[in-house]
Structures are given as C-alpha cells and as structure tokens.
Amino acid sequence: MTHEFGLFLIRYLHVISGIMWIGILWYFNFVQIPSMPKIPDEQKPAIGKVIAPEALFWFRWGAFFTVLFGLLLAMMNGYLMDALLLKEPNIGIGMWLGLIMAFNVWFIIWPAQKVALGIVEADAADKPACARRAMLFSRTNTMLSIPMLASMISVQNPIM
C-alpha cells in the first residue's frame, strides 16, 4: 500500500466516521428532541428504550473513530503537533473543537444518557437532571459543530 493510498483511506474513514457522528448529533437536535413533546406518552418508550440507545451506540463510536482517524491523518501528513499547538490554526482550531466535542460525548453526554434512559441503575430523581445535562451538552456540540466543520473545510478552501 502506497503512502498516498494510505492517506486517501484514512481520510475516507475519517469523513465516513464524521458523517456518522455529526449526522446522529444533528438527528438528536434537529429531529428527536423537538419531536418528543409531540409523541404520545404510550409511544415514548419506543424512542427511549429502542431508538435512542441504538443511536447512542453509533453516535459515541462515530465520535471515537472520527477522532482516531483524524489524529492518524494529521500524523501521517506531518502536521499533528503544529495543529495542536495552533501553529497551523486553520486545522488546529477545528481539531481542538472536535476533541472537546468528543470529550463531551464520552465523558458527559453518554454517562448522563445512561442514567436518563435507565441503562444503568440510578435514583429516579436523578433522571431529569441527567436528561437535561445530556441535552445541554448535545446542544453545545451542535453549536461547536458549525465552526468545527468550517475549520475543517477551510484547510482545502480558505475562508479569507
């Protein structure tokens, strides 16, 4: 396998994983959360017990592999440290936003969702607070995804 093909393959896997991650993030924020008040109570378990846990599986692993392939790609291209130190701010800011978002997924949203959806044992009183925390950090990631994607694209097509 040539180095050029390796770069193509890792970038391809980075983009595919990223579409999986951000696609589900936007599904949660643009479709599922706004639709929940309109769904009759007896149908809500279909979302909470079936769709949301499945979506969260692909969501968190999409985030993991997006970061993994992204860091690998930066390393193979030789700009990993320059980007992380913001000597290459175009890609560097996007990388830091992506890392913050992935941290939110694995260490805030997923633990909170496990409680909110009843995947782990917890006091019933904790569920609303965890559901709210998961929603607010999911929204934070939606907000950060806009500059993050602009930063990623601006590497190929500079904004200014």
């Binding site: 924020n29 706004p34 929204r139 934070t140 907000m143 806009i146 200014m160």
Partner: protein, 49 residues
C-alpha cells in the same frame, strides 16, 4: 448560556457567530506568527488581489 442552548434557533445563531469569531482568530494567529518581512509580503499580495 443555558437559555441559548435550550433554543435550537439560538444555538445555530451562536454557532454562526462562533464561526465568524474563529475566522478572525485564525487570521490573527497567522498574522501574529509572521515575521515583519513575511507580513509585508503578505499585505502586498493581498493588495494585488
């Protein structure tokens, strides 16, 4: 901040505002890293464009 994040519309607007801030921050970081001759050359190129 929570008030903004509770609204999807305000979240999107905040994301766009952050994008604009990021563009200027990126430019400022680039300019801060340039030496004086590099900056002069960059300014000249921009005027020609």
């Amino acid at each position: 901040m929570a008030k903004i994040l509770e609204s999807l519309q305000l979240t999107i607007i905040a994301g766009i505002v952050l994008t604009v801030i990021m563009v200027f921050a990126t430019e400022a970081i680039y300019n801060g890293q340039m030496s004086a001759p590099e900056k002069a050359a960059s300014d000249m190129m921009r005027q020609m464009n």
